[in-house]
Amino acid sequence: MNTYHLQIPLTEDAVRRLRIGDVVFLNGKVHTGRALVYQRVLEQGHPMPIDLAKVSNVQMHAAPAGQEEEPGRYRISSIQATASFRYGRWVPEYIRRFGIRAIIGKGGMDGAIYRDTFASTGTVFLTTVGYGIAALYGRGVEGVDAVYWKDELGLPEAMWVISTRDFGPFIVDGDCTGASLSEQATAAVNPKFAEAYAGMQQHVLKRMGEITQDLEQEVIAGNAGEKPPKG
């Protein structure tokens, strides 16, 4: 686990040096976005109000704990990422269109995205640690530069641009070689699940979406690189 302190905008060289399991702290401007931001710019064609490649080439899948203290003045108390798998259908296009070098998210994304997009664009996936250390990340937020589309999308879903200092720690889940820390973790724990399932009878009444003995299948299927269901 190497530790890196990186300045945003991230350079391709800096990003290509990172490997899964490395720890990253960031300095500079990070912007947020969830489904409504992706829909707005990629599906409805609204123009991006700032040059992300130059200003903020790090997107965080986040809706901060934050409020508008007075008109135009915002405060963030805590922030962390939301589960990223559900943005699989937008992320590759977003990265290519806006020159994104890092996605800060939760739980990683389908390994196919790392292999097919990250390797060629020079992008990494940084997962938030513990999935909920939002107070610690809140300390890394120096201020809110701007909140775009608050009226259209609502405050949590709006695109926040925040200034950060020693913002982290994040763990590299997907790197430019296409490697996936999540996939490695799943492969490592699957034998233990197989042991636990050994000798257990199936439930008499089946249910859609249940995990049977097929440990390759994940509940989050349905992204880019979707595998056909087995069995």
Binding site: A63, A65, G107, G130, I133, A135, K192
Partner: protein
């Protein structure tokens, strides 16, 4: 007579504690999990989780930015009277919810389910949820604020009489396997298992078992307490640490089981998993106006469970 302003003050304090302060049993359990962990990656994660818990208390920041769906469980003494009645109590809880949202800059997390319109104050249709139960021989009212996310980790299935205990065990491993990959449940977690009752009851008592019982608490029926121990061991036999990485720290901080008498042919099974940001704040309002923060909720009692049949 309990004054509405005391209720509002207590509800505000319960929300503040829930948002910013891990209960003492959770703090201790997280520290034990960090101690047990020997693998580098999950150890790094556990240390960050413990640091975050301290920073949230020091800075009065929300432990988790997903403040969940704010809700309040009310334990009302049978002899307690509220000035203005329980409608005034509900109004006080709603006012406190709006105030805490502003003061701690909580995420405005409650939106219309179809239009996604956001009123910005964590109020809305049926929001915040307020659930009641009544306790005999008491003249106090206790408020338990719970802030919990909700996308992942919950599971329901209808078991039939042929499934037996095996069905409960497999249901638990399924719920872990479904959600632990990529850490969607944010482990280490507290697991609540509801067995029996009506369908909706199995799901509700599972949630309450996860969020309203302190770590280490055991069910009063010895057979159920033994089942809790067994399922706790099962959940921690899977080689999982924090974030679901391979590790020795353990997946679960505890497993709590609640049962309810059920249909003779069927056994509904509910499972909920409360993430490491296990947020509950407990405050009791006494008749003399004392507002007392407490370490654990009084939600479950022999009376509430109708023990003894």
């Amino acid at each position: 007579m309990l004054k509405a302003e005391w209720i509002e003050q207590a509800a505000y304090e319960a929300h503040r504690l829930a948002a910013t302060t891990h209960p003492p049993d959770v703090q201790a359990a997280l520290a034990r999990s960090l101690e047990r962990e020997t693998n580098e990656l999950p150890k790094f994660v556990m240390k960050a989780i413990v640091d975050n818990s301290r920073v949230a208390r020091e800075d009065q920041r929300p432990i988790c930015a997903d403040v969940g769906v704010l809700r309040v469980f009310v334990v009302a003494g049978n002899e307690a009277a509220v000035d203005g009645g329980f409608v005034a109590l509900e109004q006080a809880i709603r006012c406190a919810t709006v105030r805490i949202t502003k003061d701690l800059a909580l995420r405005s997390n409650r939106v219309h389910p179809i239009s996604r319109a956001n009123p910005g104050n964590n109020l809305g249709v049926f929001a915040p949820n307020i659930d009641y139960r009544f306790e005999p021989d008491a003249d106090w009212v206790e408020l338990v604020a719970v802030h919990k996310g909700g996308a992942f980790g919950s599971d329901f299935r209808m078991m039939v009489d042929g499934d037996g205990l095996n069905g409960v065990r497999k249901g638990l491993v399924d719920a872990i396997a479904e959600f632990v990959r990529r850490g969607l449940t944010c482990p280490p977690v507290i697991i609540g298992v509801g067995i029996g009752g009506t369908k909706d009851q199995a799901f509700s008592i599972a949630k309450q078992a996860a969020v309203l019982r302190p770590i280490g608490d055991r069910h009063p029926e010895p057979g159920i307490a033994a089942l809790e121990d067994e399922l706790f061991e099962l959940a921690n036999s899977l080689g999982l640490g924090a974030m679901g990485y391979p590790g020795t720290g353990g997946y679960a901080l505890d497993v709590h089981v609640e049962i309810a008498y059920t249909h003779s042919a069927l056994t509904p099974l509910g499972i909920h998993q409360l993430c490491q940001a296990a947020r509950r704040g407990v405050v009791r309002i006494h008749r003399d106006g004392t507002i007392e923060p407490r370490s654990a909720p009084a939600w479950f009692s022999d009376h509430h469970r109708r023990a003894g049949v």
